[in-house]
Symmetry: C2
Subunit: 341 residues, 2 copies
């Protein structure tokens, strides 16, 4: 257990380091009025905090820097509520004031605003399709040999895919098939649609429609693949302005990861409630051990409907990011409830 003075000192160091990105010396701390002790006293406490593993020294004659453990303690015990700037509130309000759009777009937009306000990189992870159900299916002929298959989910999400139409398919047949499919498949979870298509529906179709195999094959191909959550990044270039990434090589490892959808998905905990903070090596992917990730997931009836995350250096402004994310996630959750409840 830390003494009150130790906590004040640790707080001061973390705050200053977040702000200035340079090792903090005893003298600068002693100038603050919350910890009005002489540099010597502060030095003693700093030495203790270092023994506890909460601080680190880049080299003997430098000031102190928070360790990962130090950040963790800060986030868990010392962090102070962030007062959101009036202008920032305006910007966030705008997002919700704009004309209604689909959920995924709002999620992406929210992430974009977040990256803008924090100057970090934000990640939006779209809804996991396998938790959603089929709302509507349609097939729009484009010309003689191609058509667009459109799948609308209960979340208002729309997937579409171009498919080629086999020769000799009758338009009337297509219409009948589409109607039948809507009758039979609506309400089903997306990942079950395909199985159902093959088992029950196909037989029944055969009774009504000629050449049904071809149409079904066509549909099946339109359902296959492509139903994985979408990753949208905003403000990746913000990373460039972080002094810890003035070295291009480090930048490269981090930004490299962000282009790999799979790795990005690994970063987010499967099931989680509230705001998650992963500091440095607490993250699942080694390449971002120099970064921290703060995220929040949205769920409705236990189903994951997307995640927003903010990625920055471990020296990130935890208070601000958590504050903003908390504020926005509240609004987003009510929006979600209002739309789909």
């Amino acid at each position: 257990m830390l003494s009150d003075r130790q906590r004040r000192i640790l707080t001061a160091i973390v705050d200053d380091y977040i702000r200035y990105a340079e090792p903090i010396g005893s003298r600068s701390i002693s100038k603050r009025k919350e910890v009005a002790f002489s540099p010597a006293t502060i030095r003693n406490e700093m030495a203790d905090l270092e023994e506890l593993g909460l601080l680190e020294q880049p080299h003997t004659s430098a000031g102190r820097v928070p360790s990962n453990k130090g950040y963790r303690y800060y986030v868990d015990h010392l962090i102070q509520p962030y007062e959101i700037d009036e202008q920032d509130i305006q910007k966030i309000r705008q997002l919700f004031a704009e004309r209604v759009r689909h959920w995924e777009e709002v999620l992406n937009e929210a992430a974009a605003i977040l990256s803008q306000l924090t100057n970090y990189t934000s990640i939006a992870l779209g809804p996991e399709i396998f938790t959603t159900t089929l709302k509507h299916f349609d097939l729009v002929p484009i010309n003689d040999d191609s058509a667009v298959a459109i799948i609308v989910t209960n979340m208002g999400h729309v997937e579409h895919r171009n498919i080629s139409v086999p020769h000799g398919v009758d338009l009337g047949d297509v219409r009948r098939v589409v109607n039948l499919l809507n009758a039979k498949l609506t309400g089903l979870p997306l990942h079950q649609v395909r199985a159902r298509l093959n088992s029950e529906v196909q037989k029944e179709l055969g009774m009504y429609v000629d050449r049904c195999e071809k149409i079904v094959a066509m549909l099946e191909s339109s359902l296959s693949g492509g139903i994985e959550p979408k990753v949208t990044l905003s403000g990746t270039k913000n990373m460039l302005s972080q002094p810890e990434f003035k070295d291009v090589a480090k930048l490269q490892t981090v930004l490299g990861i962000l282009e790999e959808t799979k790795k990005v998905m690994q970063l987010f905990p499967a099931q989680s409630e509230g705001i998650q903070v992963r500091i440095g090596p607490e993250n699942a992917v080694e390449e971002i051990y120099q970064c921290s990730l703060i995220s929040v997931s949205f769920t409705l009836d236990g189903e994951s409907l997307g995640t927003i995350g903010v990625l920055g250096p471990t020296r990130m402004d935890y208070s601000k990011v958590i504050g903003l994310l908390d504020y926005m996630s509240g609004d987003l959750a009510t929006l979600l409830a209002r739309w789909y409840k």
Copy 2:
């Protein structure tokens, strides 16, 4: 007019500089067997080429570097056809072998492959909506107070938007309106749809349907905005590995531009045929005067259906990029013709 020897020397310098990114001295050129002269002779020629503005010297005692004019001459007169690697051909073939998808996706995918093969950044500019026409319109109710409006264009492109449904709207009415709209609006260029909606159609609708104002207002909002070409980037991180961008500040100016859709669109010439090469300051945006952009646009019956561009440092491998782009654009054009002709 350059002498044959001058052309050989210029070619050698450009090729070597593209490869090694370091000023080229007379000695290393004289080792090549195509230009088997002594360093002294080469130096004389180099001095002449510099006077012509085709070469530059970073400083007195350094080797030569191609100037922008030099690159231009190289591209126009000296470039040699690129022989595409067998493996690369495989990768490109895969793109076209995969199941049929919509055009925009193919375009993006092609750009992604291009960035992968060249190690530069690629830009895909989606079809310009105002050249496309409405193919199909639909409105899928999601729950009591919201619905998804879906617009399918003649290109198979799908736009969709969540809209809120005013209270007291009858589902039957909606259906009737949708049918009427499809009858009246199909085939119209997208940018005219809205005007037509307000003028003719609205009156006619009023005769059939109660509360039509609300529905029309709803539709109008679903058409507004969002119909601008989409910019998709791939391999932006490839920029990091270019030695000319080891300085983070330069990187920042270039990558900054790429996040601004408007500026990116400015980069591409309005009407163009074949492969376009813009070297350094030939580009429309000052921030990328250090870069070259090689692009090709796809058109069908004179309508722009998208553009692919490769962005790299002026010291980029013109031969390779032009070669690959040429190869891919051929395949893409035939694909386009086959789908939509």
